[in-house]
């Protein structure tokens, strides 16, 4: 009986496995094979086998290592900010107030905006001549002259991060809000009767309840931010002076600008490995949540 059930399930899963294998598995295998060759964009059909030399060179390439640092810093700052901001907003939106449903509806807007549109929008907001941000800060007296936000080496990366946080914190908010709505009101009431203050209720009841959901959001957002490409490509193209060049931008430049598909594939495979490790954490987080 169990064998029949297994067969039936296997049969039902087969189309999905075949499609996933075709659109993800096969290209991944091809990319790995490519990473072992000296293939370039014009010579995809007759490349020479070079073993693991692309990988060893990648580990010595200062530009690539710098770009990994940019990706790591981007992921760290963006994800932490989104977690704090997203959770705070979720807590606010869980409280009853007039127009709550409308505000909850608004929350989805930034997340629904396509990344490239968001990037273009923030380019305009950051414009050093007529950007809204400069205008606002200048009128508030916070800055005494307009600032080049994405054209200055020490501000560019953080400016791009801010644009990304604005777009994606609402995803964390929505996940946290969904979790908050499953929190039994009786627990909060009991704690209140026992004399717990607001912080203690959050620290010992709400937060532990939120953690499994936030873990999932955390890993999902880390995966997304580690492979960040589009928002940087549109806003700065990796400049100024490569200060915003993420690992994905580096891979793109190596493969398509420098036409070195072999080493570009090696850099990409290293990134895939990093992301696979993060996915393992994600799956672990999910299983923890289910248990």
């Amino acid at each position: 009986m169990a064998t029949r059930e297994t067969r039936r399930l296997s049969l039902l899963l087969a189309p999905m496995i075949i499609i996933m294998g075709a659109v993800i598995g096969w290209p991944l295998i091809q990319t790995f094979v490519l990473s072992l060759t000296d293939s370039d964009l014009m010579n995809l059909s007759k490349p020479a086998f070079v073993g693991l030399s692309n990988f060893t060179r990648a580990m010595r390439n200062q530009g690539y290592l710098d770009s990994l640092k940019v990706s790591a810093l981007f992921a760290l700052v963006v994800v932490l900010s989104e977690m704090v901001l997203g959770t705070s907003v979720a807590l606010l939106l869980n409280e009853p107030f007039k127009g709550r449903a409308f505000v909850r509806g608004l929350l989805i807007l930034p997340w629904a905006v396509p990344t490239t549109v968001n990037a273009m929008m923030w380019r305009l907001i950051y414009n050093p001549e007529y950007g809204a941000l400069n205008s606002l800060l200048f009128q508030l007296g916070i800055i005494d002259q307009y600032v080049s936000w994405i054209g200055t080496a020490d501000k560019a990366l953080y400016s791009v991060m801010f644009a990304d946080i604005w777009k994606n914190f609402s995803l964390v908010s929505m996940i946290a809000l969904a979790a908050l709505q499953t929190l039994p009101e009786s627990q909060i009431e009991a704690a209140t009767i026992d004399g717990a203050n607001g912080w203690q209720r959050f620290r010992f009841i709400t937060l532990p309840h939120l953690i499994p959901s936030l873990q999932v959001a955390l890993v999902l957002r880390i995966i997304e931010t580690v492979k960040v490409f589009d928002i940087i490509y549109v806003m700065t193209r990796g400049g100024p002076a490569n200060k915003t060049r993420s690992a994905s931008i580096f891979v793109y430049q190596e493969a398509f600008t420098n036409s070195r598909m072999g080493s570009g594939a090696a850099y990409a495979i290293i990134m895939v490995c990093v992301i696979m490790i993060l996915i393992a954490f994600y799956l672990k987080g999910i299983s923890k949540k289910e248990s």
Binding site: S148, G151, P240, N242
Partner: protein, 479 residues
């Protein structure tokens, strides 16, 4: 009389009974009707159970699903082949990749293409446009993945790379004599590789110095600068008198535009990227040019936002009278005094070839020309050539000369073409006779990326100009 609760209870009991019946029987139904032990699943219609009413909608759903899938499978070829079948038999389809830019604009090229297709009803041309920064990569990727365009727009710095990779069709024998005689010699220089003509010059361009005449007049200058030194002095005076906060604005974002601007100053100082043997020598010949740019920034003469600006950005800054000097391509000439685009009038905008450094050069210009080429993987090379010859023909170029000067020598003496562009036409004549080119090497794009990064480091003050260029040259040598 049955009350509502009882009725509801009766309904739910009935439903529960049906569900249990279904659970009990559906396994038996599968067992009876499917050959589960065989290699595949076959329906045994003779034993099909019809006793349970719940099986009927289920089977209906299955049937609907199968019918839907079959319809989908049947429709798929229609979607994939729709475009091809829409084209009449005997029609040649060409794909052209151009650049989204101000001139020739997408509208210009589409108008030219529509005229071409009207004259050639057997040819259909599909045009695509991408920003300059993506043009080369898209061309290479399409070519490498065997989905090549038939004709493409090529920057002069890419000709060597494309030719080395065997991408460009040799059209030496097919270029009509009238083109050979009529097109400016400067155009043939960059589309000719090893004696073979591999493209048609489409527009010749250089970065020109645009200056605000009224600002200069307010500061007491009634003639444009005759040297770099004079230009910098003018900038200092304009700033000191409060006429403009930042007299200079240049496109110095991390992009090819930065190299174009730097190359003009390099040329003004008599320097070059490479020596005669092809070795990069910017660490010796290019330091003064970079020092000048860094000093302009440190003195507060250069708009600090320049480091994130591309050509369109500097055009807007100049057009709002927030700069006295800028470098830009010819397209800006018309737009800088267009009321829809600028607050300046034609009398306020001056254009000239950038002056050189006193005692070294009178003028400096760097080529930014582009050509049209037929790619070797084109299935219809004859038609593609016909198309690019049409786009670069004198009547077509004269017709669209409001933003871009033609490549035809005769056009520069045509009063109709010159009308309104006299200064530009004169500057162009001079620029085309003296302009130099950026390195013509197969790996130019990678070399350029390295120089962009290090020149920006110097402009930010992270490295001295000497350090930045020395390290850049070392990095390029190690590639």
């Amino acid at each position: 009389m049955v009350n509502e609760d009882e009725e509801a209870g009766s309904d739910s009991t009935h439903f529960y009974t049906e569900v249990k019946m279904y659970e009990k029987t559906h396994r038996a139904w599968y067992k009876d009707n499917f050959n589960l032990d065989g290699s595949d699943y076959t329906l045994d219609t003779t034993n099909a159970s019809t006793s349970n009413v719940l099986d009927i909608p289920r089977r209906n759903h299955m049937k609907k699903g199968v019918v839907f899938l079959l319809c989908l499978v049947c429709l798929l070829p229609l979607f994939s082949g729709g475009k091809k079948e829409a084209v009449a038999a005997g029609t040649v389809e060409l794909r052209f990749l151009g650049m989204a830019q101000a001139s020739y604009s997408e509208q210009n090229v589409n108008d030219m293409t529509a005229d071409f297709m009207r004259d050639h009803p057997n040819i259909t041309v599909y045009t695509e446009f991408v920003p300059y920064e993506d043009l080369r990569n898209k061309t290479l990727l399409a070519y490498g993945s065997n989905n090549s365009y038939d004709a493409v727009l090529v920057d002069d710095i890419w000709y060597t790379e494309y030719d080395t990779k065997g991408m460009l069709r040799d059209i030496t024998a097919e270029v009509p004599q009238e083109y050979r005689d009529g097109v400016l010699q400067g155009g043939w220089n960059f589309v000719t590789k090893g004696g073979r003509v591999v493209g048609m010059p489409w527009f010749l361009d250089a970065m020109y110095l645009f200056y605000n005449k009224s600002m200069l007049a307010k500061a007491g200058y009634h003639a444009p600068p005759a040297s770099i030194e004079e230009m910098v002095d003018m900038g200092r005076t304009l700033k000191a008198r409060g006429i403009v906060q930042y007299p200079f604005v240049f496109s110095l974002a991390q992009a090819e535009a930065l190299i174009c601007v730097y190359a003009n100053f390099l040329e003004a100082y008599g320097g070059s990227f490479q020596d005669d043997a092809g070795n990069y020598i910017l660490d010796t010949s290019g330091v003064k040019a970079l020092e000048l740019l860094v000093n302009l920034k440190n003195e507060g003469l250069l708009n600090p936002n320049s480091l994130e600006y591309l050509e369109e950005d500097v055009r807007r800054v100049f057009s709002t009278a927030d700069a006295a000097f800028t470098l830009n391509w010819a397209y800006m000439d018309a737009l800088a005094s267009d009321p829809a685009e600028s607050i300046l009038t034609a009398d306020e905008v001056g254009i000239m070839v950038m002056p050189g450094v006193r005692g070294i050069k009178e003028h400096a210009a760097m080529s930014g020309s582009m050509g049209l080429s037929v790619l070797n993987k084109s299935k219809y090379p004859a038609e593609a050539l016909e198309y690019i010859l049409y786009l670069s023909s004198k009547p077509v170029q004269d017709k669209h000369s409001d933003l871009q000067l033609p490549v035809w020598t005769a056009s520069y003496d045509d009063p109709k073409i010159r009308a309104g562009h006299e200064d530009l036409a004169d500057a162009a004549k001079l620029a085309f006779s003296i302009m130099n080119v950026r390195p013509s090497v197969p790996d130019y794009q990678e070399v350029s990326s390295v120089f962009q990064e290090y020149i920006q480091m110097a402009l930010y003050g992270a490295k001295t100009p000497q350090q930045a260029l020395s390290e850049a040259v070392q990095k390029v040598k190690g590639m």
